[in-house]
Amino acid sequence: MAIVDLANPSRFMKFANAAVPWLGGVTLILFAFGISQAMSAPDDYQQGATVKIMYLHVPAAWLGMLCWGVMTVAALGTLVWRHPLADVTAKAAAPIGAAFTLLCLVTGSLWGRPEWGTYWVWDARLTSELILFLLYLAVIALWRTVEDPSRAARAVAVLTLVGAIDLPIIKFSVDWWNTLHQGESVFRLGGSTIYPTILIPLFIMAAAFTLLFVTLLLAAMRNEILRRQVRTLRLKQASMAS
């Protein structure tokens, strides 16, 4: 089956029904392996054991941004091609992205308190991440406000494209402004500044989180397609009753 075939909702449902249990199983195995590697990794020479929070905080931050990236591509699918599966993707992804961004903020605060002496500071990285979380809440609220799914999809698509401006701001905030948050240490010119014994468990945890995101997204998209089928039948029921 080609990827383009999945753009058909019926074919997507067949694919999701088959893939979700397998992806869930592989995600569980990868998390078990990742957590065992993270727990046995050495402490950081400066931060000590609190570096273990990084194995949650960094993947959650990446996934929060990746999810908005997925929503941005879906927004283009909605506005340019008006494809219903693009609307479904955007709607299903928003709560998942919000959850990952919230996890990033919470774990960041819990990491910041012992390292910086404060849970929160209004520096550029933290503030731009908080803005991303608020944007997710705005998208979820907009989906719930407009009753007609196709009208809601267009309004959400515009907000998503405008909100995508926040992604490079988050990424480069530590370079553009003087922040309390540390500078880029994983993906940077000249290579990562993190020692491999800490970096490898981080990548395993990032892979586990990414697989979790894919599994949840497919399952949530399947739910959204079912919800639209229910809506169509209820409209049919209402029109026959009147």
Binding site: G48, T50, A99, L110, R113, L216, K236
Partner: protein
């Protein structure tokens, strides 16, 4: 005696992750069963999807 410094912050972070992931999984699973139930009820009342009707006609 606290053998691992800041163990409470580390435990709280992992606890938060467990809660967030558990909420996400519960939301997806409960929503799936709710939608399936709603669809089954409507189909029992005779309201079927066009694709389901076409499939039934083909089988007949």
């Amino acid at each position: 005696m606290d053998t691992v410094p800041h163990l409470d912050f580390i435990a709280a972070a992992y606890g938060a992750a467990v809660i967030v992931v558990a909420v996400l999984i519960s939301w997806v699973v409960l929503d799936y069963y709710a939608q399936r139930r709603a669809l089954a009820e409507l189909e029992m009342m005779g309201f079927t999807r066009r694709s389901a009707m076409e499939q039934a006609e083909k089988q007949a």
